[in-house]
């Protein structure tokens, strides 16, 4: 690329027998190239800062367009940890035979936990079962009529996360059923189905949103740069007349796009951060009600870097497209 650029003018000027044909070395050329980029970079900052209000407004539009998908993905992230950490995946309830003692059941629970296919086990003694039943079923007082605890001990088995197909879980279920102490092994399939349906809906919704929003970021950046180009039509025509290449004309626009995107990314990050801060209190209250340890995780520094970086990238892409489309159309007359 660089060679091509420096070769052509010499070629042209040789035809015109231009007297001033210096031939600088390669290192000088590279140095010059970077120097010129730096100049354009600072020039474009200068231009933006000369109209701070409108630059900020443009960045804000991009920022909002970026903030929305990122807020959604942060939320989705949170919901996913929520659905995992809170309620676990599918879980299997093992009801002990009626004559299995608490301590035997407890031992079995400890043994099961060693198995590879098992993530964790939770032991519910006969007394705990009765207590849970009393508080949660609403039939508490009724149980007082009974002289004997009718409930067996229960071991709740959470399969390892590596088992993700229904088949693998089914295999585990059969093997658990065959344990002598176990009366009944029940897979909470209903719950799995519901979770899947829920996540499917959420994911489809968020995918549609992400597509819409990604589109809007590109549209916003592209449109802004397009209008910026329209605004500087005279400038483009004049520099073309003086002999500027498309590459030369494109450069400041690309940098402008990058700056818009960068600042927009920063704004987006602060918007997401603020939103999460505002949501933290009610979400925690909600989690408390569900006896959950869940707390909303705030977007961190790497998130900020990602947003700023993708903002800059989108800004560059948007301006590249817009400049490419429109630079061709603007020809001097």
């Amino acid at each position: 690329m660089r060679r091509g650029r420096t070769k052509k003018p010499e070629h042209a000027s040789r035809k015109m027998q231009n007297t001033s044909s210096r031939r600088p070395g390669l290192i000088a050329l590279i140095k010059n190239y970077f120097l010129r980029h730096m100049q354009v970079m600072f020039y474009s900052i200068g231009q933006l800062s000369r109209t701070p209000f409108s630059s900020l407004m443009t960045s804000a539009v991009i920022g909002i367009a970026l903030a929305l998908p990122s807020a959604f993905f942060t939320l989705l992230d949170n919901v996913q940890t929520l659905s995992l950490g809170w309620d676990g995946n599918a879980q299997i309830s093992l009801f002990m035979k009626y004559n299995v003692s608490n301590s035997d059941a407890q031992k079995l629970a400890t043994k099961l936990r060693m198995r590879q296919e098992v993530k964790l086990t939770r032991f519910i003694s006969r007394e705990q079962a009765l207590e849970e039943f009393r508080t949660h079923s609403g039939f508490g007082d009724v149980l007082d009529v009974l002289e004997k605890n009718p409930l067996p001990a229960v071991i709740v088995v959470v399969p390892a996360t590596t088992l993700d197909t229904p088949d693998q879980i089914e295999t585990l279920l059969t093997s658990l059923k065959n344990i002598p102490e176990v009366d009944l092994a029940q897979l909470d399939l209903e719950w799995v189905k519901r979770l899947h349906a829920l996540l499917e809906t959420a994911q489809r919704g968020i995918t549609i949103l992400a597509v819409l929003l990604g589109l809007s970021v590109l549209l916003v950046v592209g449109n802004t740069i397009r209008l910026g180009i329209e605004n500087r039509r005279d400038e483009i025509v004049i520099t073309k007349l003086i002999g500027a290449t498309n590459r030369f004309i494109r450069r400041p626009f690309l940098y402008t796009g990058i700056w818009y995107g960068l600042i927009g990314g920063l704004l987006a990050w602060s918007a997401v951060f603020t939103t999460m801060m505002l949501l933290k209190a009610p979400v925690n209250r909600l989690a408390d009600l569900y006896y959950s340890q869940f707390t909303l995780s705030l977007p961190g520094l790497e998130n900020a870097l990602l947003l700023v970086f993708s903002g800059a990238l989108l800004g560059l892409a948007g301006s590249w497209i817009a400049v490419g489309r429109h630079l061709q159309d603007i020809e001097p007359t």
Binding site: A12, S13, K15, L241, G243, T245
Partner: protein, 224 residues
């Protein structure tokens, strides 16, 4: 240096702006182009600068046929032609200095060299004291002179000027024309479109007269 062979130009949806124009300017020539309003003077200059393309005929600049200059090569071609526009065409949001520096920045010169050359060019058009002003704060004549400085700052082998003295008083016009003569004396080929018949007559250079798109007269007669 500039060779027109049976050149015609028809704008879309318009009659012929130039028809069958042929002439030859040798390297180092200086010539005036004159004719009534709408005769085709600007069109002729635009064809040389590749702002418009010929409809028929061909133009050779420095031996290079313009039909062979592709769109990608146009910028490099234009760097060898200094153009002074009828409507100066300055960048309104940059200072006089930056405007004149533009061709040098495009060519990729380094800062010190740019400063030196821009100052020299501004000095020639008597505007050194206005280098930090924006074009909008200049009088029209001053703007036209900035345009002249920009056209000559990188010493192009060909200089085209479209009505460069239209907004200048007679004294300044004469000065500017003298400046063009100086350029011509160091080997630059100069072609100037002008209405100022008095001045042209006094300057005693070759003159091409256009009328309704046709080359209707040449002084002195070309032997070709």
């Amino acid at each position: 240096m500039i060779l027109f062979e049976n050149v015609s130009k028809t704008y879309p949806g318009s009659h012929e702006a130039l028809s069958n124009v042929s002439f030859h300017l040798h390297r180092g020539d200086m010539a005036f182009l004159t004719g009534h309003s709408g005769a085709g003077k600007s069109t002729l200059l635009k064809l040389i600068a590749l702002i418009e393309r010929t409809t028929r005929g061909q133009i050779l600049i420095g031996g290079q046929n313009l039909a062979g200059v592709t769109k990608r090569k146009i910028p490099y071609f234009r760097r060898n032609i200094g153009i002074i526009f009828q409507d100066h065409r300055l960048l309104l949001d940059r200072t006089v200095f930056d405007n004149v520096a533009l061709p040098l920045i495009i060519a990729g010169l380094d800062y010190r060299e740019i400063t030196r050359k821009v100052r020299a060019a501004l000095d020639k058009v008597n505007l050194l004291n206005k280098e930090k002003q924006l074009p909008a704060t200049l009088s029209t004549g001053e703007q036209q002179r900035v345009g002249i400085a920009r056209a000559v700052v990188n010493k192009p082998p060909v200089l085209l000027a479209d009505e460069p003295t239209g907004n200048l008083d007679p004294e300044l016009s004469e000065e500017i024309m003298k400046m063009f003569e100086q350029f011509n004396q160091v080997g630059v080929t100069v072609l100037i479109a002008s209405h100022d018949l008095e001045l042209i007559k006094r300057m005693q250079h070759r003159t091409l007269v256009l009328g309704k798109g046709k080359l209707i007269a040449q002084f002195p007669e070309e032997d070709s």
